[in-house]
């Protein structure tokens, strides 16, 4: 991708919709299913993925000419793991509740297909600016998809969206009617079904012939 202005905007927008990692490239399923029981958790996961994505894309695109073939994968995993550890430490220090709730899924960002995919497909071939645009685009695309999924699941499971900053803040609260108290939505069953239907919806909207 040439390094001019239009390609920057195009890479950024591609990440948001045409090549949205979750909805179109179907990558990064593990965190998407695991963490979307609550909107706050989804947003925290999205934020940490953006941070790691930007960090690793920049470092990878900085060293893209020095990479040797046999150490390629090792270098990517090392950089990504380092950034994920920083993110994990930060969360443990400043957001202990969230870090406990997300548990093992923060370190699992290392093997999240999106980050290694962007590092390999985009960052190791383009300059800093394009990689940055791509990282932010992909990150926001990922967070957006996660937030929507979490919204649906949390509303259906508990009937309310709760944010915890010290004290509980209930944004939305729906009547205590069975439709909004489906415990299944918080369990793995709900995760798979909701994501499956959501991907189906996206495919219908884009009318993609596969």
């Amino acid at each position: 991708m040439a390094d001019n202005q239009t390609s920057l905007a195009r890479t950024f927008l591609a990440g948001l919709w045409q090549e949205n990692p979750v909805l179109r490239l179907i990558l990064g399923m593990c965190p998407t299913l695991a963490v979307t029981t609550s909107v706050q958790a989804a947003l925290t996961m999205g934020a940490s993925v953006i941070f790691v994505l930007i960090g690793s894309n920049l470092v990878v695109s900085l060293m893209r000419n020095l990479l040797k073939p046999h150490l390629r994968i090792l270098m990517f995993t090392l950089t990504i793991a380092a950034f994920v550890t920083v993110a994990d430490l930060f969360l443990k220090a400043y957001q202990p509740a969230m870090s406990a709730k997300l548990g093992p899924y923060i370190p699992l960002i290392i093997v999240n297909c999106i980050i290694i995919c962007r590092a390999e497909a985009c960052a190791s071939k383009n300059g800093l600016l394009v990689s940055l645009a791509d990282a932010v685009g992909m990150g926001l695309g990922f967070t957006g998809a996660l937030a929507v999924l979490a919204l649906v699941r949390e509303l259906l499971a508990t009937g309310q969206i709760v944010f915890e900053f010290g004290q509980k803040v209930t944004l939305v609260s729906l009547p205590d009617v069975p439709l909004f108290r489906m415990a299944g939505m918080a369990m793995p069953v709900g995760a798979f079904l909701t994501l499956g239907l959501m991907l189906g919806l996206v495919k219908m909207v884009t009318g993609k012939r596969s």
Binding site: M29, A34, I73, L78, T85, P104, G200
Partner: protein, 196 residues
């Protein structure tokens, strides 16, 4: 003696009760991608089991003998992923060179495993559950691999029949696989809480 009993219960527990794919969402990326045909799925399962056993033991050794005594917990993730990536790449080269036949059957899945959440996930869970002896680590790792193979082979069988089914256009491919996986999770929830 009860250690054998714990090992057996632990093994059954990890294969059926808290199966990595259904209860912990680990390994869903290749689970959706490679479960098209049963032979591919089985090959993938064997490769994952082999690497999980190898990686689980290696990472536990490093964790137990180096990280915890010296208090270097911060390096846990970096060391784990370095070991896994290095081990997988080494094994792949070795199998490709000396066992070409074996390589064609399951070796080709090896590079796919470095970005597989199940491997790193399992290593982290071993650390999280505070397993403090080697036999239990090996048994749990192999069990997790077999659990993954079980899940992916069941899914491959279903998806092969799904090819003949009249799936609505929008749901073809990943969406229908996810919905099937959801129903499978429902089935596996029957085992929940059986072994703790």
């Amino acid at each position: 003696m009860d250690t054998f009993e714990t090992l057996l219960l632990g093994f059954l527990g990890i294969v059926i009760v808290n199966n990595l794919v259904f209860t912990k969402f680990l390994g869903t990326c290749p689970y959706l991608g490679v479960s098209g045909r049963i032979d591919m799925a089985f090959g993938m399962g064997c490769a994952v089991t082999f690497v999980l056993a190898l990686a689980g033991t290696l990472t536990w050794l490093i964790d137990y003998f180096v990280l915890i005594p010296y208090g270097l917990n911060v390096l846990r993730y970096v060391c784990f992923i370095l070991v896994i990536a290095g081990a997988v790449q080494l094994v792949e080269m070795y199998v490709r060179k000396f066992f070409p036949v074996l390589y064609d059957s399951f070796g080709i899945f090896l590079p796919l495993i470095t970005t597989n959440c199940a491997i790193l996930g399992m290593c982290l869970f071993i650390n999280l559950w505070g397993i403090d002896n080697l036999p239990e680590t090996v048994v749990l790792s192999v069990g997790a691999g077999l659990g993954f193979t079980l899940a992916i082979c069941i899914m491959a069988g279903i998806r092969e029949n799904l090819e003949l089914a009249d799936v609505p256009a929008a749901l073809r491919g990943a969406p229908i696989t996810l919905i099937t996986a959801g129903l499978l999770t429902l089935a596996f929830m029957g085992f929940a809480g059986m072994i703790r």
